[in-house]
């Protein structure tokens, strides 16, 4: 066992060295990618140092230490896998026309929304199934391969940016929402719960879901809508069309998953559109939503109304709106006033094009993308 462990530590050290040797000579064309490469190499070197110190300290020569050496190995191997997946692979696949393009896009967005954090690295190593994803620990956002050739889904990039904003400002953003949620559910149990055990169980699970993920996901929907306006709503409607086909608008078959039901997400998006002054667009979107629910009737899980009262959606919407204002993020309408042609405007125009003049939208989108590419100095 101890010989096996020693071999495993040595092998992991060799693999770490190979990654460093692969990356070190590579030149990145843009500063964000260069910085991400440096971070990756530093993380790899730090891991290597930890592996070396275990190999040198004598514990891999006596079976007495086998349980502890195996725990140390599993820690370091998990660290290795994390670095490989979220640092090494994304930077290894760097391409100027994809990652370089998104570096320009994300830096422009951060300026336009007035967010002073260092922008994340954006990689196109995802796919349409995994879609847009963020890994906040390493400040990386992953988009489907080929996304640099399209504009319509970029509203969802603002949701992922929302996760990074939320990481820093969560308490400012959701405010007293969790307390309101707890108070509401306590009242519901007092009114009905003693007679309905199933309701009490549903409330318990909903409270956990709010704590663990629903508050954050709804906050990110609200932040995205605040920042990119109607385009985020259209992106969400696109997702709703897909989920409605398998009875998913109200999460009937799996209510307590990471994301709240699509219908609840739509409701908060509409609220935020009104709060930032896009009432006409909110009204148009609400009408499309009505058409969708009429065309594809979806079932609701039990106690849906008790779990998602309108007042709770109002309060989280207002809290996130106030939070965004307090941290001086520029809303979509504000960006239109302070910037000639912010990225958020281009995405909204892309939606106008596809909805009103789809025949010319492809050519138009390519022109916009080429224009953004020309910003790469």
């Amino acid at each position: 066992m101890i010989a096996l462990l020693k071999g495993m530590f040595t092998d992991l050290q060799n693999r770490t060295d190979a990654m460093v040797n692969h990356l070190a000579p590579q030149t990145m064309d843009t500063p964000g990618a260069s910085s991400f490469k440096e971070t990756t190499i530093l993380e790899l070197l730090w891991l290597r140092q930890k592996l070396r110190s275990v190999l040198d300290e004598g514990i891999l020569d006596d079976p007495f230490f086998a349980p502890n050496a195996s725990i140390t190995y599993s820690h370091l191997e998990e660290e290795y896998r994390e670095i490989e997946q979220y640092l090494f692979q994304p930077i290894s696949r760097y391409n100027l026309r994809a990652e370089g393009y998104f570096e320009v896009v994300i830096h422009s967005i951060y300026k336009e929304i007035n967010f002073s954090q260092k922008p994340p690295y954006v990689s196109t190593m995802s796919n349409s199934d995994a879609y847009f994803r963020a890994y906040p620990k390493y400040k990386i956002i992953m988009l489907p391969q080929g996304e640099e050739k399209h504009l319509l889904n970029l509203g969802d990039l603002y949701h992922e940016i929302g996760h990074l904003i939320y990481m820093q400002y969560n308490t400012f953003l959701i405010g007293d929402h969790l307390q309101r949620m707890t108070d509401h559910y306590r009242d519901v149990i007092q009114q009905h719960g003693r007679r309905y055990n199933a309701l009490k169980i549903a409330i318990q699970r909903a409270k956990q879901a709010w704590l663990e993920s629903w508050s954050e996901e709804l906050a990110c929907d609200l932040i995205a809508t605040y920042l990119v306006g109607p385009a985020y709503g259209w992106s969400h409607l696109k997702i709703c069309v897909m989920s409605s086909k398998h009875n998913g608008l109200f999460s009937q078959s799996n209510l307590f998953r990471d994301h709240p039901p699509d219908e609840i997400r739509m409701q908060v998006i509409l609220r935020m559109l009104s709060l930032i002054g896009c009432r006409t667009e909110a009204s148009e979107m609400a009408s499309t939503w009505q058409d969708l629910t009429t065309a594809t009737p979806n079932g609701k899980p039990p106690y849906y109304e008790e779990l998602f009262p309108s007042a709770l959606l109002d309060s989280i919407g207002k809290n996130v709106f106030d939070g965004c204002c307090d941290i001086a993020l520029q809303s979509y309408p504000q960006q239109l006033k302070t910037h000639t042609r912010p990225v958020s405007r281009i995405i909204n125009e892309a939606w106008d094009k596809i909805l009103n003049d789809p025949d010319t939208s492809t050519q138009w989108a390519m022109e916009q993308i080429n224009n953004i590419l020309s910003w790469i100095s």
């Binding site: 514990i59 725990i71 992953m142 939320y166």
Partner: protein, 146 residues
């Protein structure tokens, strides 16, 4: 706080605690071998300060785990938020060897006595349970946020 912040903080704390406890056991095992065996692997060394540090780490862990039974109000590991801390304590409490066996280790650590191979077997069971819990958390957490 929610998924991104709270879960990461919880994992970071658990990861740090597991690593510290594992390192503490390694240090005490080194001290045990150096004091009982004539021939030891090269590189095996431990200072008095490291032994003291290791004993403190284990003392703190025992206070955390046994706080349910003792109903202690001031708990170590304040960095793990509730209800995650209570959840973790309950899990570890259920996985541990009987309390009387652990008490023997606690007493040996408190009095500065050398631990025995039997004590180390119990400590290995303890760290294995703690690490299994850590591993479970990271598997859930490593999924990216969509």
């Amino acid at each position: 706080m929610s998924k991104t912040g709270q879960r990461w903080e919880q994992y970071s704390a658990l990861d740090e605690i597991t690593d510290q406890v594992n390192q503490a056991i390694i240090l005490l095992k080194k001290a045990f071998l150096l004091s009982t065996e004539k021939e030891n692997p090269p590189g095996l060394a431990v200072s008095d300060a490291e032994i003291l540090f290791a004993r403190n780490i284990l003392r703190e862990l025992f206070r955390f785990i046994f706080s349910i039974r003792q109903k202690t109000k001031v708990l170590p590991y304040a960095q793990i938020p509730e209800p995650a801390a209570t959840d973790l304590r309950n899990k570890l409490d259920g996985l541990l060897p009987p309390r009387r066996k652990m008490t023997a280790i606690e007493q040996a650590i408190d009095s500065g006595e050398h631990l025995t191979r039997y004590h180390f077997r119990l400590l290995d069971d303890l760290i294995t349970a703690l690490d299994a819990e850590r591993s479970l958390v990271i598997q859930n957490l490593r999924k990216p946020t969509t």
